[in-house]
């Protein structure tokens, strides 16, 4: 007989043992971080009794580290704590903008970007921003750990690449150079508390006026957020002038495979994703130029 249960382990090995025990006995588990999706789903789409494994008491998941080489955001770090980290905000303004768009003050006090990633909504705002920033997932596995690029972590609507017995410890980013800057824009009918009709995350690296590296990712226009390599290729080697931005926008439009729903038609979303791409690139470019 299955029933709800709650445990709050304090080490990675305890979490892994709990996950393994449940897999063996066929009982369901639910990793709990901020809980802002889990608690809602528990009362609506997923009422299946299961064991909540609260990962907020682990040292590793509470790591928020900005080092000389690397940036690490643990899976228990709520958005509000990221926003309070001034250096992180300077290094990854786009990622922080994306996280800041998710939910109210109350929700941001609990919600984590790793939870946003695991929840794998096609419209999750932090996902395109993480992809653009080149974030890599740090996954705890029964054998140790493995790394997986964020663009490969989400595999479909509400589905992630975690295998049974694994959980997400955090995301890792490189510490960017001063000439690398990101930006994230989404379109919603309201300015607050809404779900993206389309979203675009970008990151550009300049050498003088020239773009030498770029990453562009689109959200809410396919079953998962997509890295658009063609858009980046249209930018590299240019000065990020209007013509280059236009081409990158068209690449996003071509890569988008949106649905039509109450938030917007597929045609509208395709149009909007190109506009957002151009605007986000202009913001990132100006940031990289120190404007």
């Amino acid at each position: 007989m299955s029933a709800y249960a709650y445990v709050a382990p304090t080490s990675i090995s305890e979490v892994l043992t709990l996950l393994d025990d449940h897999v063996r006995s066929g009982r369901g588990t639910q990793i709990l971080a901020g809980g802002t999706d889990v608690m809602v789903q528990m009362r609506s789409v997923n009422r299946e009794p299961r064991t909540f494994i609260d990962i907020k008491r682990l040292e590793e998941t509470n790591r928020l580290h900005v080092g000389a080489e690397e940036v690490y955001i643990g899976s228990a770090i709520p958005s509000a704590r990221m926003q309070e980290h001034a250096e992180l905000k300077t290094l990854y303004p786009g990622l922080l903008e994306a996280a800041d768009l998710i939910g109210s003050t109350q929700v941001q006090g609990r919600a984590t970007i790793c939870g946003n990633l695991c929840n794998a909504s096609p419209a999750g705002d932090s996902i395109p921003a993480l992809i653009a920033a080149g974030a890599v997932c740090d996954i705890a596995t029964p054998d140790g750990s493995r790394e997986l690029a964020v663009e490969d972590f989400v595999v479909g609507v509400g589905q992630n690449a975690l295998a049974d017995g694994e959980f997400l410890l955090g995301v890792m980013l490189r510490r960017p150079q001063a000439s690398t800057k990101d930006a994230y824009l989404r379109f919603t009918p309201r300015t607050e508390m809404d779900i993206a009709v389309a979203g675009v995350g970008v990151s550009v690296t300049l050498d003088g006026p020239n773009c030498i590296a770029a990453r562009v990712a689109i959200g809410a226009v396919a079953t998962k957020a997509l890295l658009v390599v063609d858009a980046a290729e249209a930018l590299i080697g240019t000065t990020l002038d209007d013509a280059a931005l236009q081409l990158a926008g068209m690449a996003c439009q071509a890569a988008a495979q949106p649905i039509s729903d109450k938030r917007g038609s597929a045609g509208y979303r395709k149009k909007v994703v190109a506009v957002l791409c151009r605007r986000a690139l202009a913001i990132a470019r100006d940031r990289a130029l120190g404007r």
Partner: protein, 159 residues
């Protein structure tokens, strides 16, 4: 279902309770502890009526399990007024008639208190964005914002 034993601090008082593993903090406050000042509006984190402070962080009690409160410092609307009377925000809400039916009021007070603790002198835009997660279906937003502005002004420049 085995109940869980939780030891926590609510409004500076040590409290212990038993709760179901899937019981929300909101239901624990209201149904187990009789602290009914925290209201349930939507139950899905959209309306902010159940706003409380957990370790000084503003959260929706409906989006938290009661079990998660172990060792935490919780503050609810019942802890806002001091021995000498109402909190300044409560007085200002009364003065400005910043409430109609009153269901959203505890949540607005908790959210405003968290804002003023972080930013004692917020401008109107900051107040409106900060309070965007609190819904008032009587739609008396202007009076609420004025009350918070007035409280902030008095905090910055005490009469």
């Amino acid at each position: 279902m085995t109940k869980l034993h939780v030891s926590t601090t609510i409004n500076n008082e040590a409290r212990e309770y038993l709760c179901e593993p899937n019981q929300s903090m909101l239901d624990v406050l209201r149904d187990e502890l009789g602290l009914t000042g925290t209201k349930e509006g939507c139950g899905t984190g959209d309306c902010g009526a159940c706003s409380i402070l957990v370790d000084d962080r503003l959260v929706c009690a409906c989006l938290m399990l009661g079990a998660e409160a172990q060792d935490a410092q919780i503050e609810t609307i019942e802890g806002v007024a001091g021995e000498s009377g109402l909190h300044l925000l409560q007085s200002k809400f009364l003065e400005h008639a910043a409430l109609q039916c009153g269901i959203c009021t505890p949540g607005f007070i908790m959210a405003s208190k968290a804002l003023l603790a972080k930013n004692p002198n917020p401008d109107e835009t900051t107040i409106r964005y900060w309070l965007a997660g609190n819904l008032c279906r009587c739609t008396g937003y202007d009076k609420i914002v004025r009350a918070v502005q007035d409280a902030a002004a008095e905090l910055s420049h005490p009469a």
